[in-house]
Subunit: 322 residues, 2 copies
């Protein structure tokens, strides 16, 4: 997993993934007491950065293999990213989702042309179902984060940040990234380490689900005690990945953790000042920048708003914090 | 008022105004039955395209005159655009607003460094107050739309659309634009007429406030019978401008009008599918594209979402339409 793979991924996704801008607002700078630049990956195709990794991975499969199709386990942003990437290439996508996943997510994934296979969380084994399907049909599994070509795709966020910050004259910064399994965080860290060595990546997680922060502090992979209980569902994973953790350990600064209430407030400020829609898990880095800036060192904080797939009710709840 | 002035404005705003992207979603295409590309000027500095015109106008004043300051009459997006542009140059901005303007708008304009002068709508004459202040202090008046350098700034939207659409292989399209006094519409029409002659601009207004559509049909300036009664306050003006109307008459296709309810539904779809925050007046062109596509001819509709300065309560009302 290296910079060349990220550069190659950038070429493969060019013209398909959007180059998201860097947004700013004097009102946000004032809250943080620092300069805040926000990269809105909620504006990415399918509403999150996951399309980058999906497109990178699907485009890296040999055409003769790819035509049989791909498969992913996900009820969320990764499912939509892979479904859209498969649709780009006109190949089948099978998405394995729990039968109790939100109806909107099931419908959206189907609308992108994917075949959705549901399973009962209580009685059925997701991996067994997926593996059987993959073998039977020759599908290629696209893992959500512990997969080099997925990490390479997410790392293109880092290439863009380096170039866009340089154009603004910014070379020294902390880069705050919402962190689940660590695909976006580790890929971006590799890109920035090479292209903008004055920048340091800081993973941000929901309070109580800070497996990455604890793993970085301990120097070994630590797990989350639970997988439910936060509104930031998109970035709750059992533990950092086998591939992503060593990269983060080598390249990232200490992790940060924010309470759900701060994620909601950050969503409201993104609405008010940047006019973007951010989901709770996608807002934790902005929350850290706005409300926990004292835990950072740099004068400039670059924040990734990683996704915007939030239902209207949760969004209205965020607006109520204003 | 010509293309060269728009090109010159583009140079003056470069690096200050954002080049907003062109967004799309297969879900929106399906609703319309056409290809929909959305230019989100809600992501522009100060949350609307008005910063382009403000920056263009303020940057065109001679430095010795500019240093005395600028003045604008506005309770809305033009006020913020001019205030930010004045702040860019470190010169004073006076904004004349009715004393009953929304508190948030008063506060935001002050927070951008402007001096806000309020007047009583019922008993005081806005123009008299403004003219007296301008003479007394040597302030330059920046009109909201009937001013060549403002039109030139707004026209940079057209230059960007031409280049971005070409990169996507799109040369034939109708370009739907929320229209108040016609600054954005006329400037964009001049730019596209030169740079993308296969495109035709269609102004879009709220139903019952379609002075531009009626003026275009009649071939002479028609007025709105009332100035209140629509949620699309940002684009309600008494009549098209003396400068903007002849340009629109020469270059634009027929106007479109949409009910407020459709603007709210368009805001909700922009939330759900594009992850952007659009205000009611900024959403009328998207509403026309999504819900009145039969009144258009081209296979591709390019839509400007012109602003995002909406209060949380109105936004929640839009989400309730989902």
């Amino acid at each position: 997993m290296n910079l060349d793979m990220i550069r190659a991924a950038a070429i493969r996704i060019h013209g398909h993934a959007r180059v998201t801008p860097l947004l700013h607002s004097p009102f946000l700078d004032e809250i943080a007491g620092k300069r805040i630049l926000v990269k809105p990956e909620c504006l990415q195709v399918t509403g999150s950065f996951k399309y980058r990794g999906g497109r990178s991975a699907v485009s890296s499969i040999h055409p003769e293999v790819r035509k049989k199709g791909v498969i992913a386990f996900s009820s969320g942003n990764h499912a939509q990213g892979v479904a859209q990437a498969a649709r780009d290439f006109g190949v089948p996508a099978v998405i394995v989702m729990p039968s109790d996943a939100p109806r909107l997510k099931l419908e959206n994934t189907r609308a992108l042309g994917a075949e959705v296979v549901t399973y009962d969380r209580a009685t059925e084994d997701r991996d067994a179902i997926g593996t059987a399907l993959a073998e039977e049909r020759g599908l290629t599994l696209i893992k959500p984060f512990d997969e080099p070509e997925v990490i390479a795709g997410q790392g293109t966020v880092g290439l863009e940040i380096a170039a866009q910050a340089k154009a603004l004259g910014v070379t020294q910064a902390e880069v705050l990234i919402p962190c689940g399994g660590g695909g976006l965080t580790s890929g971006t860290a590799i890109a920035l380490n090479a292209e903008a060595p004055g920048m340091r990546v800081r993973p941000v997680e929901p309070e109580g689900f800070d497996d990455v922060a604890r793993s970085l502090a301990a120097g070994s992979i630590q797990r989350n005690p639970a997988l439910t209980g936060s509104i930031c569902d998109a970035i709750i994973t059992p533990a950092p990945g086998q591939l992503t953790f060593p990269i983060m350990h080598a390249l990232c600064g200490p992790g940060l953790a924010v309470p759900d209430a701060d994620a909601l407030r950050a969503m409201a400020h993104a609405f008010l000042r940047l006019k973007i829609v951010v989901e709770p898990g996608g807002a934790v880095a902005l929350a850290a920048a706005l409300f926990h800036a004292r835990e950072t060192e740099a004068d400039t904080l670059i924040v990734v708003a990683s996704g915007g797939n939030v239902d209207p009710t949760s969004f209205a709840q965020a607006l109520d914090t204003l």
